[in-house]
């Protein structure tokens, strides 16, 4: 069988193709991937709000008895105050900051666990793989939120802080990323470039960091955002049930206290609605970012202008 041969010689090399700058490429991509762009914008706005709120307002006003109670939104109190005398502007800012802490902390831990376990499982195979995979599969049908209710409900009320919330939330959330990373690493393990690297004598560690990890980045990013989403959602859920750190102005807490005081039926509509809107924006923007990252991770769908 004869094929067209094409051996390289040094006779003539094509001129370098100048790539447009990184920033330009990024902006062009965002123009196409509108979901990602909108999600990031909303998130950015929320971050700005939080920072401004924390700097301008006095964080102490986020706690009870700092302002006249039950005031609707006005110039003096832009977001109104609640039954307990919390200035809702400060409360929201502090609450969002705390939500961010929980989300990032739990999200980060969950992602790290997922990446490490998924990696170990796929790379070394054998009984490590079987045991990790089986544990993930067995723990998956367990309704995570309910278990978290159990855990949160068992804690002494004084022990519940933002950080314990983060830990509770991450407890059963790491299985997803583990399985995803595992399957990605498995596909990559089989691919040729890993075998080539092995043959050229690159050490195991070298392969991990130089070959596999870079390809995994979009998946790790997606897993991270997903974990943050799950963490925020779970902490909100627990707080709404009244299982959160009650002193703190977590958004879910605000709604819970509003519900227990019958806010809607007493006409203090702004009290639960504001944190509700904020929560919708947070989770919605995260969801859009996840959608956008989906597209990024699948190169087939990326389109140029």
């Amino acid at each position: 069988m004869a094929s067209i041969a094409n051996t390289a010689g040094a006779a003539w090399m094509p001129a370098e193709v100048r790539q447009p700058g990184r920033l330009a490429l990024l902006l062009r991509y965002l123009r196409r991937n509108k979901g990602l762009a909108i999600g990031l914008t909303i998130l950015l706005l929320l971050v700005l709000f939080t920072i401004v709120g924390l700097l301008l307002g006095d964080p102490k006003h986020a706690y009870p008895l700092s302002a006249p109670t039950k005031r609707p939104p006005s110039w003096q109190y832009p977001l109104g105050t609640d039954f307990f005398g919390r200035n809702l502007l400060s409360a929201m800012a502090v609450g969002m900051w705390q939500t961010a802490v929980i989300g990032l902390l739990a999200g980060g831990i969950g992602t790290v666990i997922g990446v490490v376990l998924g990696f170990l499982s796929a790379y070394f195979g054998g009984w490590i793989d079987t045991s990790i995979r089986s544990i993930c599969q067995i723990l998956t049908p367990i309704p995570v939120l309910l278990i978290q209710v159990v855990v949160a409900g068992s804690l002494d009320k004084r022990d519940v802080t933002i950080y314990t919330m983060a830990l509770i939330v991450v407890m059963l959330a790491w299985m997803g990323p583990t399985l995803v990373i595992r399957s990605q690493v498995l596909t990559m393990k089989e691919r040729q470039f890993v075998s080539v690297a092995k043959l050229s004598g690159v050490s195991d560690l070298g392969i991990i960091f130089k070959e596999i990890l870079p390809c995994l980045l979009p998946f790790i990013a997606a897993a991270f955002v997903g974990q943050v989403f799950a963490a925020v959602f779970a902490s909100f859920y627990l707080a709404v049930l009244g299982l959160g750190p009650l002193r703190e102005p977590l958004l879910g807490n605000i709604i819970w206290s509003a519900q227990t005081q019958g806010a809607f039926f007493n006409g203090w509509w702004w009290w639960p609605i504001e944190p509700a809107v904020a929560m919708i924006l947070i989770l919605g923007s995260l969801a859009l970012i996840i959608m956008g990252l989906d597209e990024l991770a699948n190169p087939r769908v990326r389109r140029s202008e």
């Binding site: 094929s3 067209i4 094409n6 010689g9 003539w12 140029s304 202008e305």
Partner: protein, 349 residues
């Protein structure tokens, strides 16, 4: 080998012309242009490509990866997707010009007038529906009002002509071997007796024995329905055995079209010549000659002739003026300044 009742089945249903073999050109591609708009710039994947094929003729299309062979096939089927765009040219199949059709008419033209057999049939069949269903839906999408038994007959005939037992209809894709899947794709390609069949590297993933089977199948069905066949590939040996004409593509341009005999004995274009001479032959065993340099990136094509930086016979004019597509005697086509004079003689003669 089954003998097929050619009269009833092979009668072309959708042809508007009754083309006697070899007389009317059944495929005419004129000045086809395709550009890809990427973040890094514009890449001209097809540049002024033109050629003609008669019914029953086989054309082999060769070229390196990125030379534009597959793009040409996709362009003819009007399946170029973003970021690519067909920017000009005409594709005549019989009496119909494909580029001027609206979307719905083009959809109908696919498979019925011009069929495409994909590269790598491994994944081209729907994994969750039966083979039979995939043949039937192709028929149903084009012919309305055919009775169920007529459709079933047609599909059974198509399978038999690719040497597959019609019972394959009840199987699923994962139950078939690579060669069988490829033959199913060919069967789908001939279901509606198209005038043109494009086979895109139909044998790349197959072993030699299956390769031969598949090539012979293509030959046979071509005979039955008298279609023009374009065979895309890079296996020169296979080309030598199966095609009538050979077209060579380089950097999106058609640089030479000759009969297979002419191509292998006295190729005209320097690139074609380099290709042929690089083929190992029994006389100088162990001596391998490549072509110096690398194929240019389509984003930054050299000025003038795209091949001139690697050409042993490059002249002054080659770096400044694009060579025109020239017709030499006997209908041979070549795109090279070396033959400007010769072509002028043919013109005036």
């Amino acid at each position: 080998m089954n003998s097929i009742d050619n009269q009833t089945w092979a009668r072309p249903i959708l042809r508007s012309l009754a083309a006697a073999p070899g007389i009317e050109p059944v495929l005419q591609v004129r000045n086809l242009e395709v550009t890809y708009y990427t973040d890094a710039g514009r890449a001209k994947a097809l540049d002024d490509v033109s050629f003609t094929l008669n019914a029953g003729e086989k054309l082999g299309m060769v070229g390196e990866s990125g030379s534009g062979k597959s793009t040409l096939a996709l362009a003819m089927m009007r399946m170029i997707k973003q970021p690519g765009r067909i920017e000009g040219g005409e594709v005549w199949v019989g009496n119909t010009e494909l580029m001027s059709l609206d979307d719905e008419a083009m959809r109908k033209a696919r498979l019925s007038r011009i069929a495409y057999i994909p590269q790598g049939a491994m994944n081209s069949l729907n994994p969750v529906t039966r083979i039979g269903a995939q043949l039937v839906d192709a028929v149903k999408s084009h012919l309305h009002g055919e009775s169920r038994s007529a459709i079933e007959d047609r599909c059974a005939q198509a399978l038999r002509s690719v040497d597959l037992d019609p019972s394959v209809s009840r199987m699923y894709a994962h139950e078939l071997s690579g060669g069988m899947k490829q033959r199913v794709c060919i069967a789908i390609g001939i279901l509606l007796s198209p005038q043109v069949i494009i086979a895109d590297e139909p044998t790349s993933a197959l072993d030699v024995v299956t390769q031969r089977q598949v090539m012979e199948t293509i030959d046979r069905v071509k005979e039955q329905i008298n279609a023009a066949v374009i065979l895309i590939g890079h296996d020169m040996g296979l080309m030598a055995q199966f095609v009538d004409k050979v077209a060579v593509m380089y950097a999106g341009r058609l640089v030479e079209v000759s009969t297979v005999r002419q191509m292998f004995t006295e190729p005209k274009h320097p690139y074609a010549r380099a290709l042929i001479s690089s083929l190992p032959n029994l006389d100088n065993k162990g001596v391998f000659q490549g072509i110096p340099g690398l194929a240019p990136s389509l984003l930054r094509l050299p000025g003038g002739c795209a091949f001139h930086p690697r050409c042993a016979h490059a002249m002054e004019v080659c770096s400044t003026n694009r060579p025109a597509v020239l017709t030499l005697k006997g209908g041979r086509v070549v795109t090279c300044h070396l033959f400007d004079a010769e072509a002028a003689n043919v013109q005036s003669a």
